[in-house]
């Protein structure tokens, strides 16, 4: 008999039937009677004072029912680092100043979208243009204009991580490399753009349906910004068409819809256009990297020094976290005895940079894995060998920083080595490059409201044995509804079909910080497991009494809808019978199990880490520099696999996104204006461009995770850009240190290489 009944099996997603029949209603689809449509007016200037906003013409337009500007707000600034007021710097609806092209200055609600759009043209805004700065390296100089009052040299935040003594250690190295890299921005391109339907009713209660990763955060931030009590706000995530890190902060659609509805007391729906999605929502943090790496000639790495300047854009957003994590993950997945990281985030007059799948780790992995390959070549060591020599192992402590419990990195290296060997001799102009990664399963600290992160869950068992699972976790496509239902079913001993999950509705679900930083499986999974165990215990107590006495309660368990005695399994009762009698037999009490989880005291950064190694094969056309992603094979370990179909999907999706980061996705700007804010112009990998993919699963067990599981989904976006860079070098001998690695860059590098050869 397999160890588990539900987890590890290939199941249909619990939200599957609704989605594949077109029945699932996203915020994008929702309407309410008497609803109005909202549109937002945005600044065309990267940096300017708002002198005057004249809405008199708009108010006369038939069909326009409400107009709001910054003057209609209570004047608060919000930020996702809520416990640090100096980092709460975003008004969303600007009152006195705009800081990037796309910053919101007014919003209207009208009877239809066309009227709302027309209305925007009738709002007159008088700006006083201010000098603007776009490059972070320029922004931190004396000459640069100041973007936020009181922030000297536009340095939003800095971060420092250190252990050992790098300066001393470099003296002992046989070889030192210093390299510079530039990591580009990236747009999330969720298929469903940011949208919200807000209904402020006559009881002064606000309900907001919205496309979000964190209903709980939106509730709290709306309360802050509207001057309301959280309990008077209900945020509901119906179905969400993608998040990838773009949707756990309070956004302009949510805030403006709520404000408008508050004014007019009618439901207001705002859907951002695709252009707004590209220009006026958050994006991946671009980074300038300066790396110094020192090793002994046998490949042992002794010291690593990292300096980073990130382009912050106009507001802090989650940029502070990306800044920290990129420094932290620059030390992954290797054992550096000496390490120093200094990171600075500079405000710039560009769209704010924040969180995107990987959260600073795709950047640090690209640069780190590129450099380690270069180091390996310098030392004459095989790229896999050098990684083996320095790779993290289970139960390793990152000095003073983090404790790694489970770690399958070495098994992953073995698998990839085998895969490369099996591939055999490559055709000309082909190359295979590898990259390793490690990533966290949710953070321990919470800079939002409490010091430490938390998740909670409630399980209610109904008289017919069906189970209602209430969780604050947010399903955004990553499969948390299915994974958590599976954990609940496994713990409780029932079928997956018996679970009905209610998630991300702040009116009925207990809180959870949201779907980001790869928290849902481990944090919420643990909370759900605990809640299910609590409900189970109540049932078993009743069953024990029926079966002979409470002394056997610890010997009872439930599996496949049967309550049974562990050492005499033939003795048992039907789960459904037990439930029926248990719920009838009490004083009308429902059987409710409660669970919670906090990673507090589970280390410093995260309770668990997942690891992997990816090999990318490219085929290069040396005459043009164009290259194809032929195959991407990944060996990864994520503890116990709860939902195998889910993990495979996460991996393949990650390759599309991370492959795009390496190959083609970019947001070129001119004076702060994004030049390609459309799906046609922003290059995305489509089905004809997608490589063959292969997954090699390594079996590990994470003691901290529910049934031994840890994250799988975000870490997988880390390695691809680095693997591509390394593959290109193997294929045609050119090294590109800036992202994205476009064919033109490869072409120019090849020509330079030819020219150098000719000189010799």
């Amino acid at each position: 008999m397999s160890k588990y009944s539900v987890i590890g099996t290939r199941v249909h997603r619990v939200d599957g039937p609704e989605k594949i029949t077109g029945s699932a209603k996203y915020t994008f689809d929702l309407t309410l009677p008497n609803m109005l449509y909202g549109k937002i007016l945005r600044s065309p200037h990267p940096h300017a004072k708002i002198l005057k906003i004249d809405t008199s013409k708009v108010e006369k337009l038939i069909g326009v029912k409400a107009v709001v500007t910054g003057k209609d707000t209570i004047g608060k600034k919000q930020g996702i680092w809520r416990r640090f007021p100096e980092l709460c710097d975003e008004e969303i609806l600007c009152r006195t100043k705009v800081r990037y092209i796309g910053d919101a200055v007014a919003a209207v609600a009208a009877i239809d979208e066309d009227t709302a759009e027309e209305a925007l043209d009738l709002i007159d805004v008088e700006y006083e243009l201010l000098p603007a700065v776009f490059n972070p390296l320029e922004a931190i100089t004396e000459e640069a204009p100041q973007i936020h009052e009181g922030v000297e040299l536009n340095i939003n935040i800095n971060r420092h991580i250190e252990w050992g003594d790098v300066d001393e250690a470099f003296k002992k190295c046989d070889h030192i490399r210093e390299d510079q890299f530039v990591c580009s921005s990236q747009a999330h391109v969720c298929m469903e753009t940011h949208c919200a339907l807000a209904h402020f009713d006559y009881n002064n209660k606000l309900t907001v349906w919205t496309s979000t990763q964190a209903a709980y955060y939106i509730q709290a931030l709306l309360a802050d910004m509207l001057g309301m009590r959280e309990g008077d706000i209900r945020v509901i995530n119906p179905y969400t068409g993608g998040g990838f890190g773009s949707k756990f902060e309070l956004d302009s659609a949510q805030f403006c819809a709520a404000l408008l509805s508050q004014k007019i007391r009618r439901p207001v729906k705002i859907v951002l256009s695709r252009e707004e999605e590209f220009t006026a929502t958050k994006r991946r943090t671009p980074m300038y990297y300066f790396l110094k790496l020192g090793a002994k000639k046998d490949g042992t790495m002794l010291a690593k020094e990292v300096r980073v300047i990130t382009e912050g854009g106009a507001y802090t957003a989650m940029g502070a976290t990306a800044l920290y994590l990129t420094g932290f993950f620059s030390s992954f997945p290797y054992k550096y005895p000496n390490y120093r990281y200094d990171g600075y985030r500079a405000y710039t007059n560009t769209a704010p940079t924040s969180a995107m799948r990987g959260f600073g780790a795709p950047q640090s992995t690209f640069v780190g894995e590129s450099q380690i390959d270069m180091m390996a070549e310098d030392l004459g060591i095989d790229p896999i060998e050098i990684r083996r020599k320095n790779g993290m192992t289970p139960n390793y402590e990152v000095p003073g920083q983090a404790f790694i419990q489970s770690c399958g990195l070495h098994q992953c290296l073995d698998k990839i080595e085998e895969h490369i060997k099996q591939r055999g001799k490559l055709p000309p102009n082909h190359g295979i490059g590898i990259a390793c990664y490690g990533f966290m399963s949710g953070g321990i600290f919470n800079w939002f409201d409490t010091p430490y992160a938390f998740s909670s869950a409630i399980v209610r068992i109904n008289i017919d044995g069906k189970v209602d699972l209430f969780t604050g976790a947010n399903e955004i496509g990553q499969g948390s509804n299915t994974t958590l239902s599976m954990i609940c079913a496994e713990e409780l001993g029932v079928k997956l079909d018996d679970i009905r999950i209610h998630s991300a509705d702040t009116g009925i679900c207990p809180p959870d910080l949201g779907a980001w930083g790869s928290r849902e499986t481990l944090h919420n999974g643990n909370a759900v497991k605990m809640a299910a165990a609590d409900a189970k215990r109540q049932l078993l107590e009743f069953a024990a009494a029926k079966m002979g006495g409470l002394n056997i309660v610890h010997d009872l368990d439930i599996r496949d809808c049967r309550v049974y005695l562990a050492d005499r399994p033939e003795r048992g009762l039907s789960y459904y019978d037990v439930v029926k009698e248990a719920t009838r037999g009490k004083d009308g009490e429902a059987i409710i199990g409660r669970g919670h989880y906090t990673p507090h005291r589970k280390g410093m950064i995260s309770p668990a880490y997942s690891f992997g190694v990816q090999a990318a094969e490219v085929e290069v056309d040396p005459e043009t520099g164009r290259y194809k992603l032929v195959n991407v094979t990944t060996a990864h370990e994520s503890g116990t696999v709860i939902n195998p179909v889910g993990i495979e999907g996460q991996l393949e999706g990650a390759i599309m996104m991370a492959g795009g980061y390496g190959y083609c996705e970019d947001q070129p700007m001119d004076e702060g204006k994004i030049l390609n804010p459309s799906i046609a112009d922003y290059k995305l990998i489509r089905s004809l461009d997608m490589p063959e993919t292969k997954i090699l699963e390594i079996d590990t067990y994470e003691p901290e995770g529910p049934f031994g599981a840890k994250e799988a989904g975000e870490g997988l976006t880390n390695p691809t850009a680095g693997a591509i860079a390394n593959a290109l070098y193997k294929a045609v001998g050119v090294r590109i240190n800036t992202l994205p690695i476009t064919p033109e860059k490869v072409f120019r590098a090849l020509r330079e290489k030819e020219a150098k050869k000719k000189k010799k």
Binding site: T624, L684, F747
Partner: protein
């Protein structure tokens, strides 16, 4: 947002021409609208009157005759792609269509609409130019004929006079020992061309000497252009790899590409150089076969 307009759906060509004649500059014609609707939705084009000719089935045909092909302007890209006669006799057209946008776009968009849109990076125009194609425009005043290469005037500007509709494209029958090929360079397979190159080569009987050659380039000038100096390098000579290389180099000087977020001017010239030689070689191989 789309602005309001008055809509006509004429049932015959005559009806359509009468409407065009009536409304002149105030109206726009929509075939499949796969290019026009994007501009209208973004507010870049806002006609008062829109004349839909999508229903004029009389303009949707592929006729194969001794003199060559006659393709009605409203023939969809997909019909061209799937046409057995085109796949057999002018396979380069079918190959070009296969990489044009997406199947959805090709199912509704028309070859005539594509040509009238005048996108400098469009795929059909350079291929038709390489095939020495001509086209017919029709108005109440009568018909005009011209080479496809003379149809494009400037970025998104074509030689249609007010009251005129593009009605037919003619592809002359290829002389014996003719081969044609097309490729476009892009970084996403179905993307618009960063650089497009079409070459048609006609060889003398059995001697491998190039009797006739046409090299058409897309996306490297305000209109698709012929690389006539490069053609002169090949014409009348025996085609070799070195000669093709030279032709490529000359063609790269004839191109007038711009630098944009997709590629620099310099890179586009290099792509012309490489691809003219490559596509020329392919056309040459097909001519020999």
């Amino acid at each position: 947002m789309l602005k309001d307009f008055e809509y006509f759906a004429p049932k015959t060509l005559k009806e359509a021409l009468a409407l065009l004649d009536k409304y002149q500059d105030e109206c726009k014609v929509i075939g499949g609208g796969q290019s026009l609707l994007i501009l209208m939705r973004q507010g870049l084009v806002a006609p008062q009157y829109l004349i839909s000719i999508k229903g004029l089935s009389e303009l949707s045909y592929i006729k194969d005759a001794k003199e060559g092909l006659k393709i009605g302007a409203l023939t969809t890209h997909r019909a061209i792609e799937k046409s057995p006669v085109i796949q057999k006799k002018f396979s380069v057209l079918a190959e070009m269509e296969r990489r044009l946008a997406s199947i959805q776009t090709r199912n509704w968009g028309t070859i005539g609409g594509n040509l009238c849109h005048g996108e400098p990076a469009g795929d059909p125009a350079p291929v038709l130019m390489a095939l020495n194609a001509t086209l017919t425009t029709t108005s109440l005043r009568g018909e005009r004929n011209m080479a496809v290469g003379d149809f494009s005037r400037d970025y998104f500007e074509v030689a249609l006079e007010p009251g005129e509709l593009l009605t037919e494209i003619q592809v002359p029958a290829a002389p014996p020992h003719t081969g044609a090929a097309y490729t476009k360079f892009n970084i996403i397979e179905s993307d618009l061309a960063t650089v497009g190159v079409a070459v048609s080569v006609t060889l003398g009987a059995g001697d491998g000497v190039c009797q006739d050659v046409r090299i058409a380039l897309g996306a490297v000038a305000p209109t698709p252009i012929r690389a006539k100096k490069a053609e002169a390098v090949l014409k009348g000579k025996k085609i070799t790899d070195n000669l093709l290389k030279e032709a490529g180099e000359v063609a790269s000087t004839e191109a007038e590409p711009i630098s944009d977020i997709v590629a620099s001017e310099e890179y586009r010239r290099e792509l012309v150089r490489v691809l003219v030689a490559r596509v020329g070689k392919e056309a040459f191989a097909r001519a020999k076969a």
